[in-house]
Assembly symmetry: C2
Homo-oligomer: 279 residues x 2
């Protein structure tokens, strides 16, 4: 068994995804996260498009926050080649925005479309990534492929296992390409520890997203648990990441209608408690 993992005491290692408190303006997110001692914010596309990249850049700089990621781009899959071309254009825009706001990476959700067979979809993802790697490289922005849970394979993301993301990284062989490991999507994987170790060996462990898997999940998308609400051994998971060499920020990314409806200051206090107690 792994050695004991010490609890987190330094919140400067923690970043919050703006979607987690999506009813707050980006200014308020940054101010409150920084006041609470969190060290970073991962900025979602809606926030960047809403406020504009130059303004977001100023806001995060003023708050003194790191920006591990702009979330999200990718969505390379379609039966319609015009949509695939439009997705490349949007990805290039996201790369520019990421550079502008000082985000270290873009989180890549591969995409999927009902009617496009999975094997074909997976080929389209590889082609899409190959097309934007030069742009990301030129901008100095990393691309983090995030495998999503198999329950999203039909319509959201056809890359569903760490092993498949790792294979993509090896095939495309660019040092700016890596993997975002999200506990929600990967915790069930029997190969979890060995895949994380292999990604570490390859230098591909770009991001670590935390939330929790609830046993009474009511909605496939909008009922993620906050850390401690569910079944995932988050501290054990962090141990796997750290033993594999991961030293980046730990990003809190929760989509949950009930938490969005809460008083957001109380919610941020709860997030802090749960980070300290569970991660």
């Amino acid at each position: 068994m792994p050695a004991d993992i010490e609890p987190i005491t330094d919140l400067s290692r923690i970043a919050i995804h703006s979607i987690t408190t999506k009813k707050l303006l980006i200014e308020t997110c940054c101010k409150r996260y920084a006041e609470m001692g969190f060290g970073g914010i991962s900025v979602w596309d809606d926030a960047v498009d809403g406020a504009g990249a130059p303004r977001v850049a100023k806001i995060v700089e003023k708050a003194g926050l790191r920006v591990p990621a702009l979330v999200r781009a990718g969505f390379f899959v379609s039966a319609d080649h015009r949509k695939r071309e439009a997705s490349l254009k949007l990805n290039r825009k996201r790369i520019e925005q990421a550079k502008e706001i000082g985000a270290e990476m873009i989180v890549i959700v591969a995409g999927a479309e009902p009617g496009v067979p999975l094997a074909e979809a997976r080929t389209q993802v590889a082609e899409g990534l190959a097309a934007i790697i030069p742009d990301a490289d030129a901008a100095g922005v990393k691309l983090a492929i995030e495998p999503l849970h198999p329950m999203y394979a039909a319509d959201r993301c056809c890359i569903n296992r760490l092993a498949d993301a790792r294979t993509l990284c090896r095939e495309l062989a660019s040092p700016i390409l890596g993997v975002a490991v999200d506990v929600y999507h990967t915790w069930w994987d029997p190969d979890l520890e060995s895949e994380i170790a292999a990604l570490g060996d390859d230098g591909r462990l770009f991001a670590f997203h935390v939330c929790d898997w609830k046993t009474d999940t009511k909605h496939l998308l909008l009922d993620r648990g906050l850390m401690g609400d569910g079944v995932i051994d988050l501290r054990g998971f962090r141990g796997m990441m750290e033993r594999a060499g991961f030293g980046g920020m730990i990003e809190v990314e929760v989509f949950n209608e009930d938490y969005w409806a809460m008083d957001q200051d109380a919610y941020l206090e709860l997030i802090r408690e749960r980070v300290l107690a569970c991660v």
Copy 2:
């Protein structure tokens, strides 16, 4: 690409799971399935417990239906050893019931319990199977491990990939142990075709369950699609099974509140249409 697969014309290869029309009494299920030309019924535990195995045996015999499976047993996982022992007892009862009703196999859902780490849960499953194999062997009843979708890993089934079910079969090395391949649980697997082929080579392809994956799934358990409602290439899937040597019945297993609420005669007509059009 695979050669074209001919549509099904002979409904005698089709069995319906009694849960699919769960509001009908078992007598009515058998009578209606047989009248429509379906060749078999897989009987769920509630139906056997309700009517009693001797009576179910008479009902299916009178209807002239084959019984590919008694569904379901397993559920080997618990932190409480008394619950694990109770599950072995229940599994042995199901084996006896399966023998009595002439079921060829029992479908095994491995089990899972929040709080039991997945690695430990998977060990408990192997131990549970090892404990009941002699009973199944003596009764002449096969055991079909059904990997369930990863979204059930927390609380229902810790065996989530065909590869893991195949590994269990190899480790336990009993010829009565095999795998039930359900399209709903496995369609997303990048290794689908190679795993099915490997199971065929090993003589482990015991069952083939069909339904569909809807992109607008509203409930993790009770919103499965009828064949044709969703994204799965069912005919292509059948081709993989048949090329791997599968010649058993094709079993229709749908849990869906909306279909349960329909007129069940109209629903059975729809099932027939969809089998002919989609599978």
